[in-house]
């Protein structure tokens, strides 16, 4: 959020000259020579003693926590005695009133305590401090009074500015100023003060942050400084005073909700891929693309097995053969995966895809009903072969390891056909022999496999 109100701009111009001063003042413990800040005191401040200001200055710069607690009582009892011209602006009437109350009470306290009398140079610094405090109270008061008008001189000007500032300071100031903003009138001051006390309780660095942000916030770089402290706080993970619920980000990672959601999504996907890795055989791939490839192959394999097994249950003739979907018919191997994987491959066979498969399947099934031999010839014409299913798992593991991975198809010939006469042309002798068909001749090219095919009296590849 940008400090775009005119009050803020006015404030910037007003304080530009002085922004460095309070910062230095805060950081150092000693007294410093402070330039004339061109400070326009309200009528009420002119009546303060230098002693008082100096005391305030020293106390605030050294021990914020201690000093705030010391100051607690005056802030609780605002006395309207010294009210003068601060309330000239009708808009800021109660605000000016609060100012004066606070300052007057402070003065009274100081007078009660009695104090030493330092020299004048710290006075201006003290005045800066007072100004800051007034801004703080002004913020709370202004918030409560909801008076953001810019009129009425410099005092009025910087009342509204802290209000606009406070809206942007979520992290650092939100916790501190939340209550003041919701209370009205006199209670605002007390609540503000409680905020101070609370801030000090949170940790020693908290008030520092607070002062830093307050001081630097009045400059032109207000917003970026705030953002830096916010970012720093959230990035290093130690933000106890954060009002919002935030996922604690690791170092160097973004904290905006989009990237968090993205990261969660990616983690979920990774979890599930790990679970899939155990399921799918040969799922030890680290790459997501190759893992997906394995998954696809395995699902196709299982679906084909179901299809074939359902055929065998028919008690029909011999094997019903289903042709394969060859995923990598080319000689090249996995390198061509970009082009050949999936149904969208450039090869004509693949592009026709499932249509040709089912057609071939039906054809072969029909042929098998009549004559095994004709079915075999048909297959041969298509470039398919039959294979015993006992090699199914063996082949799948082998082909997984090899470059090409043609899909293998399980076919169950059921030699026991209660409804049909067993033809003599049955190749496989063992009753529960299943048959595999493997396409992509080049891929297999294993002589041993062919030999075993011959054992089963199947047709070898052309």
């Amino acid at each position: 959020m940008q400090p775009c109100s005119r009050e803020m701009q006015a404030m910037n111009s007003f304080l530009c000259q002085t922004q460095q001063i309070p910062l230095e003042n805060l950081e150092s413990n000693g007294h410093q020579q402070i330039q004339n800040p061109k400070f326009e005191p309200t009528s009420s401040t002119t009546s303060y003693d230098d002693d008082f200001l100096e005391q305030m200055l020293s106390s605030t710069s050294t021990l914020p926590s201690g000093s705030w607690s010391d100051l607690k009582s005056p802030w609780d009892l605002p006395k309207p005695d010294d009210q003068t011209g601060g309330g000239s602006n009708p808009d800021h009437n109660n605000v000016g009133f609060n100012y004066d109350e606070v300052l007057a009470s402070k003065l009274r306290q100081h007078q009660i305590n009695g104090g030493g009398g330092p020299t004048s140079p710290p006075t201006t610094a003290m005045k800066m401090m007072m100004q800051q405090q007034m801004m703080l109270t002004g913020r709370a008061a202004a918030a409560s009074a909801a008076a953001a008008g810019g009129g009425g001189g410099g005092g009025g000007g910087w009342l509204s500015i802290p209000l606009s500032l406070s809206s942007g300071n979520d992290i650092v100031d939100g916790s501190l100023f939340k209550s003041p903003n919701h209370q009205g009138g006199d209670g605002a001051v007390q609540a503000l003060y409680n905020g101070f006390g609370g801030g000090s309780l949170h940790g020693t660095n908290q008030p520092q942050h607070f002062h830093h942000s307050q001081a630097s916030g009045f400059g032109a770089n207000a917003r970026t400084a705030m953002n830096q402290t916010q970012a720093g706080g959230s990035n290093t993970g130690g933000t106890p005073a954060q009002p919002k619920q935030r996922v604690r980000a690791r170092r160097g990672q973004a904290t905006d909700p989009h990237s968090i959601a993205e990261r969660l999504r990616r983690e979920r996907i990774a979890e599930r891929m790990k679970a899939l890795q155990e399921l799918v055989p040969n799922g030890n791939k680290t790459d997501k693309a190759s893992m997906l490839d394995e998954i696809i192959d395995y699902v196709k394999f299982l679906q084909l097995q179901v299809k074939v097994l359902s055929m065998s249950r028919l008690g029909g003739a011999a094997a019903a053969v289903a042709p394969l979907v060859a995923d990598a018919p080319s000689e090249g191997g996995r390198g061509d995966c970009i082009q050949t994987s999936g149904n969208g491959g450039p090869h004509g066979r693949n592009s026709n895809g499932n249509d040709s498969l089912t057609v071939t399947e039906d054809q072969v099934a029909k042929l098998m009903e009549e004559d095994m031999g004709s079915a075999m010839q048909y297959l041969q014409g298509k470039g398919l072969c039959l294979m015993p299913i006992s090699l199914a798992t063996a082949i799948s593991t082998v082909t997984c390891q090899s470059k090409n991975n043609p899909m293998i198809n399980n076919v169950n010939p059921n030699n026991n056909r209660p409804l049909r006469q067993a033809s003599g042309g049955e190749g496989p002798s063992s009753p529960s022999m299943s048959v595999l068909t493997v396409q992509s001749a080049a891929a297999m090219g294993n002589g041993g496999v062919d030999g075993s095919i011959k054992d089963a009296a199947s047709v070898s590849k052309p």
Binding site: D287, K300, S310, M311, G316
Partner: protein, 190 residues
């Protein structure tokens, strides 16, 4: 991990029920019809074993019970009163409309990104590699979506979940079918 035996048992039970109903309805079926019937009953049994908990099972049943298909009757017989409940869970028409819109918008997005990519001159090697990898992954995800029933409606995360479940169910189905086949062969052989 091998499919749990409880799943297998449930599948077997439902499948046998379905088979009985199939065989009772038609006596003279060609091999293909029988294969289809068997496969259908097996698939439906598998899907109903999930009781509508997974997306793919609902999609499968919905696909089979499409209006105007022959198998609907069969499905209703097999599933009984459950079929209506399960298909109602999946809002098929709404999902398909949403899906079409999504597909169309994705195509538009793809075209625009392709144009943007072309205008970009020479990308550094790392970016090129990642873009290639992303393209690969996307292609394969599409293929997977086409494989899994009802996959085109899912986003990537749920797709992988559904794949997991689908693979388990399929392997259970295969095991049961194979064991049944071997048993029946043994029985018939003797």
């Amino acid at each position: 991990m091998s499919p749990p035996s409880s799943l297998k048992q449930e599948f077997l039970k439902k499948w046998i029920e379905g088979l009985q109903r199939c065989s009772s309805s038609k006596n003279n079926m060609s091999i293909l019809e029988r294969k289809k019937a068997i496969k259908l009953s097996a698939d439906v049994a598998m899907a109903s074993a999930r009781n509508g908990t997974t997306c793919w099972s609902r999609a499968l049943i919905a696909n089979v019970s499409k209006d105007g298909s022959d198998e609907k009757y069969l499905v209703e017989q097999i599933l009984g009163p459950e079929s209506e409940r399960i298909t109602m869970k999946k809002v098929s028409t709404g999902a398909s409309m949403v899906c079409n819109k999504r597909i169309r918008s994705k195509k538009i997005l793809k075209k625009s990104t392709r144009r943007i990519r072309r205008t970009r001159k020479c990308a550094p090697h790392a970016a090129l590699a990642t873009s290639i990898a992303k393209r690969l992954v996307r292609k394969r995800t599409q293929v997977l979506k086409s494989l899994i029933p009802g996959g085109k409606f899912m986003n990537e995360v749920s797709l992988i979940e559904e794949t997991l479940d689908y693979i388990i169910s399929l392997s259970a189905q295969v095991d049961v079918m194979r064991s049944l086949a071997s048993v029946s062969e043994l029985v018939n052989h003797n």
